[in-house]
Amino acid sequence: MLRKLTALAVAAGFLFAGPALAESTQAPLKHVNWSFSGPFGKYDQAQLQRGFKVYREVCSQCHALNLIAFHDLGEPGGPFWSPKYPNANENPWVKAIAANYKAPDIDTTTGDTIQRPATSADHIPAPYANDTAAKATLGGAPPDMSLLVKAREGGPDYVYSIVSTAVVTPGAPTVTAYAPTPAGLTVPAGKYYHPYLMGDLSSSWTGKGPPPVGGIIAMPPPLADGKVTFDDGTKSTIDQEAQDVAAFLQWASDPKMEERKQLGLSVMIYLLIFTGLLYASYRRIWRDVGH
């Protein structure tokens, strides 16, 4: 009987308590006209390269990109793809990027764990050995970014809205807030109010009326004007950096998008013609049958 009651309570908890917790809100996301949206959209390779630089110089301090191997950067549709190097492992940019990293390995004679120069086959090393190590240093484990765009409602617009929002003080080298903290909202030390973060602020809210939209985020505002120097001469503003890194993370989530849309076009054209032929055959075969 007790077990039955427990099972019922558990089921009840999941079915009814779950939704009751969910009063998450966020400000309507900022929308960007991405080069990759729409059925014919493609990645802007220069943008992916800039975005990779933002990831490497800013995001990768805390966020891993575990699913991306160095050679992925040189595969078709990737930031460093070049038709001159159909084998991404021979791509000089890929090799040069990998050479900057160390990859963990086992010494083949002693069996000791060692760090050796990374190769194009290695995945981009994570900033922390594991989530516990990240928590010990940062107070929380930042999410892996490989699938971040697919794992958030709004996709690239969400990532862009999170990192492009900032209160910029002229002359100050870093940004210290995403948005002015509404009076009546208690934000714990070392954390930040963010209007675009999906969250529920009712427990931190003592002001009048309903709590503000958004949530509390542990990540300090990551970008600043001029923080990353773009090699192609593009002016480095917060907005530019944010767009570029969101586009790069879109690619990281969906590296086969260009191949998919390209094949999709051929398939749709084929199917349209095939459907037309079948319809003509159908009309012809049935022409003498009253129905």
Partner: protein, 439 residues
């Protein structure tokens, strides 16, 4: 109606084989099968469903070659398929979206059966096997959704298996068997993978029975009138192979637009976060094709009764041949039944919509409402209750009791060909005039 075989073995080897294993005769008879000539496009979904099943099995077998059904590896192996396996993104995209396409087709197929009375004598067994296929499909799809081992996979599995746990007496044993432990964990994933591979072949066997049961009385048709003689029918091939082929091709256009241009549209973003037993997603929702049942489950304040309501909703589908007893098969000639059926379709659609909402969300923003039976009158719970009540009223009240008392049916044509030839667009020409004289 299946009638005597028309196959005549022509070559020596065919005659030799025909007396030992008449497999060519069997295939020839399938192709020649006399099929009513007035089947409309709603009848093409049988062929579309066969196509869906084959697609799911073929892509699934390939996916199983690359998938790692372990708690630690499942999520990453799906990404490995998407990123590293040649055309893995395509095969996985077809399989994941194919499940939705399969359910879209099966729902249309079922509503067609309800509307045209395809379950009525002598097709009750045909309908029951179909309902069994649908039930097996639900189990297969549910287990398949668990395999990527994302957050929604994990928590969906938790919610659904806990539903069985709510059953009296047998509940805890069932959940232990499903989980392979004391909660949803790696062993659950492992056994779901095993069953997810097994059940499609059970479906394939049931489909064979379904087609067998179809070929005994033959197809129903939009008029619901029995086939009187050969002039009412055409051979399945080439008439329906080409019509079904055309319909499958149109269906493929829809299918491909999802696979190539909106591969994530029918999924849930939370399933791109690996399963984490200590973080509950804010909003657990099943796949779209389960939403009407989910809405019924959540509409009932008592959980156990909610579970029985949900199971009862599926039970109504099984019992339909004994609930709708009207002697007129097709709702073409049942204007009242048609009206209730239309409301039923709308109610199911609204239930699906309500199932995707959070229960306490207001339906009309800004209207405070008041609480009645545990829930605000202006909440999706009450929308679900009203539509759920209609769902059961339709099956258990309107069809078996109300309609037999009040219904006035329209005159039914004597033969399939009569309405065909009275149709202005089909002016008798050449061979088409013959059935009229025989009728």
């Amino acid at each position: 109606m299946s009638g005597p075989s028309t196959y005549e073995p022509k070559t020596g080897i065919e005659r030799w084989l025909d007396t030992r294993l008449p497999i060519i005769r069997f295939s020839a008879d399938l192709l020649d099968f006399p099929t009513p000539k007035n089947l409309n496009y709603w009848w093409t979904f049988g062929g579309i469903l066969a196509f869906c099943l084959v697609t799911q099995i073929v892509t699934g077998i390939v996916l199983a070659m690359h998938f790692d059904p372990s708690g630690a590896g499942a999520f990453l192996s799906v990404q490995h398929i998407q990123r590293d396996v040649n055309y893995g993104w395509l095969i996985q995209g077809i399989h994941a979206n194919g499940a939705s396409m399969f359910f879209l087709a099966v729902y249309i197929h079922m509503f067609r059966g309800i509307y045209y009375g395809s379950f009525k004598p002598p097709r009750e067994v045909l309908w029951l096997i179909g309902a069994l296929i649908y039930l097996t499909m639900m189990a297969t799809a549910f287990m398949g959704y668990v395999l990527p081992w994302g957050q929604m996979s994990f928590w969906g599995a938790k919610v659904i298996t806990n539903i069985f746990g709510a059953l009296p007496v047998v509940g805890p044993s069932i959940t232990t068997l499903l989980w392979g432990g004391f909660t949803v964990d790696a062993p659950t994933l492992n056994r779901f993978f095993s069953l997810h591979y097994l059940l499609p072949f059970v479906i394939a066997a049931l489909v064979a029975l379904h087609i067998w049961a179809l070929h005994v009385p033959g197809n129903s048709n939009p008029t619901g009138v029995n086939v009187k003689d050969k002039s009412d029918t055409v051979p399945f091939h080439p008439y329906y192979t080409v019509k079904d082929g055309f319909a499958i091709s149109v269906f493929l256009l829809l299918f491909a637009s999802f696979v190539f241009y909106m591969p994530e549209a029918l999924g849930h973003v939370d399933n791109y976060t690996p399963a984490n037993p200590i973080v509950t997603p804010p909003h657990i929702v099943p796949e779209w094709y389960f939403l009407p049942y989910y809405a019924i489950l959540r509409a009932v304040p008592n959980k156990l009764i909610g579970v029985f309501a949900m199971l009862g909703a599926i039970g109504c589908v099984f019992a339909l041949p004994w609930l709708d007893r009207s002697h007129v098969r097709s709702m073409r000639y049942r204007p009242q039944a048609r009206m209730y059926f239309a409301i039923f379709c709308v109610a199911v659609l609204i239930l699906g919509f309500a199932g995707a909402k959070e229960v306490d969300d207001p339906v009309i923003n800004g209207f405070a409402g008041f609480t009645f039976i545990d829930s605000n009158i202006n909440s999706w719970v009450w929308v679900s209750r009203i539509c759920g009540a209609y769902f059961f009223a339709y099956f258990l009240g309107i069809l078996p009791f109300l309609l037999p008392l009040t219904e006035k049916t329209l005159p039914v044509p004597e033969t399939i060909s009569t309405p065909v030839l009275s149709h202005p667009a089909a002016a008798p020409a050449g061979a088409a005039a013959a059935p009229e004289m025989k009728g």
